[in-house]
Amino acid sequence: MDYIFEGFMNAVGMIVSFDRELAAITYISLRVSIISTVLATCTGVPFGFFLALKQFRGRGIIIMILHTLLALPTVLIGLLVYSFISRRGPLGSFGLLYTQWAMIIGQVVLAFPIISSLSLSATQSVDSKVEKTARTLGANRMQTAAFIFIEGKFALLSAIITGFGRVFGEVGISMMLGGNIRGLTRNITTAIAFETGKGEFALGIALGLVLLTVALAVNILLYSLRWKRG
């Protein structure tokens, strides 16, 4: 048991002393996850919003597919994206494999269904009177959509935060598409797996603590938004 305690104490020491490697890994993790969340938000929120407000043929099937994709395992996304961006794949010439962009592509694929399906529910949960009220106030279609968007803003933010939480904590995509290259694609989750394999518990635990802290911060933000809504 001593090694766990010792590892924990060393981890705290690394965090307090702002260890350079720990900082570099955390930076890569945050950078990749933030970019992928922004991209998934830019596509997923409008898509969910569109699905909620527009009735068209095949809408039900799209929603069903979207919900199915929520259960997509990260290793499967890794495999899928790998097959496209590996040297033999259709996008192989771009040389994306084992770069941060490869990780970002994989994480966008992971976050898009989460953010769009939660945006869909968020928009649907906005009172139907909002649309009518906007129209009585003389709003055109775009302005009406803006009213609905603003009224559902807290639920939409929750959708984005949930998407971020998911990509920040995933390991399969980062490992398969990033390749865990030190200083380039090694993020918190791949580093934990790697360091633990080497028996370097201190860095693993320190990274775990950082991961938990970010997850906690995200959840505090989420709950405070929900509280504000209620």
């Binding site: 009177k129 909002v130 129209r135 106030l137 003389g138 302005q143 603003i150």
Partner: protein, 340 residues
């Protein structure tokens, strides 16, 4: 005769077609500029549907709507909608400050933001919510929310203001405030107001014209003393059975279920049965008395909850010395009963 603002012609609106195929059917109706209209009718009579159509939120199934002589079609609907607005029943208030709620319609119209503070202060003063600018609107009371919604509509300076049940879910104090507001709108020549209400006397008090709507049709009668009855023959004379014990003598071509309505001003009150040509005479107990300036409304229970309202002059009321609990006869002629 004032200038016509809006007119509906050969108008029909079907809704809940799968359930009961209800039809709002109005051959013709015109609204004059600057007048206040009270729309009354029981639940399900089509008031909200008519309001939605007049506010151009819903399209009629048949017929036309004209606004200032211009026929409303899809291509001009959005532009015309900017000249009118509606305050819905239990209006939705945006999750922001009162100020931003009030200015939401102004923003849609691209009106200069510098004018907002003064405009908002004026309109909030008008509805009795002065100083509420920075309050979080969803935290207001139901009555305050209603008044904020009216302010949000008034700030747009609409030519036609529709208010669907503005008095529902509102306490007594706020009812007075909204009633005073409608009275003040009556004095404004540029705004036509249409409001719907359950309270018939309120409609008469506040509006220039009362529109009675029953089962989707405009009826030419007050809706006070409105009953559902079964028209049949009773010993050779036609009657409308409105309860187990009460049958009213009527004259009508209708057979079977129908509505009957007795204008309150056509009902006589007497302490004893009188020998007259009136064939309807019922004994009852005075349940409520409502005194206005010149007239008095007497609510008489003639059969366990069946209440007849009669309208008499203040002078008659004083000479009869009526009080709640008095035994009284209510008497009216067969020809006074409207059947539809």
């Amino acid at each position: 005769m004032g200038t016509e603002l809006m007119r509906i012609s050969e108008f029909a609106k079907e809704y809940d077609a799968q359930q009961n195929g209800f039809l709002l059917d109005i051959p013709s109706m015109a609204f004059e500029k600057g007048s206040v209209y009270g729309l009354v009718g029981p639940n399900g009579s089509g008031k909200t549907t008519l309001m939605n159509c007049l506010s151009l939120l819903e399209e009629p199934s048949r017929g036309d709507i004209f606004f200032k002589g211009e026929k409303v079609v899809r291509s001009n609907m959005h532009d015309i909608r900017k000249h009118l607005t509606m305050v819905m029943e239990n209006p939705y208030i945006f999750g922001t400050t009162v100020f931003k709620n009030i200015t939401s319609g102004l923003r849609c119209r691209g009106i200069n933001k510098n004018t907002y503070p003064e405009t908002v202060t004026t309109v909030l003063g008008k509805v009795g919510l002065g100083g509420f600018e920075n309050r979080f609107a969803p935290e207001l009371s139901a009555g305050e929310r209603q008044r904020a919604a009216i302010a949000r509509a008034l700030v747009l300076k609409p030519e036609l203001l529709l208010m669907d049940e503005p008095f529902s879910n509102v306490d007594k104090r706020n009812i007075n405030g909204i009633e005073n507001l409608i009275r003040s709108l009556r004095k404004e020549e540029d705004i036509t107001t249409i409001f719907s209400t359950h309270d018939i006397s309120q409609a008469y008090r506040l509006s220039d014209h009362v529109i009675s709507l029953v089962d989707g049709k405009i009826i030419d009668s007050s809706l006070e003393n409105l009953f559902d009855g079964m028209i049949g023959d009773d010993n050779g004379s036609q009657t409308a059975k409105i309860s187990d014990r009460i049958s009213i003598a009527v004259v009508s071509d209708i057979r079977g279920p129908a509505h009957v309505c007795i204008p309150p001003e056509d009902i006589l009150l007497s302490f004893g049965p009188i020998d007259s040509s009136a064939r309807n005479s019922f004994k009852g107990i005075v349940k409520k008395i409502r005194i206005d300036r010149q007239t008095v409304k007497i609510y008489t229970d003639i059969d366990h909850g069946i209440e007849l309202i009669s309208l008499i002059t203040r002078k008659s009321f004083d000479s009869m010395k009526l009080s709640v609990g008095s035994d009284i006869y209510v008497i009216f002629k067969t020809t006074s009963v409207n059947v539809f």
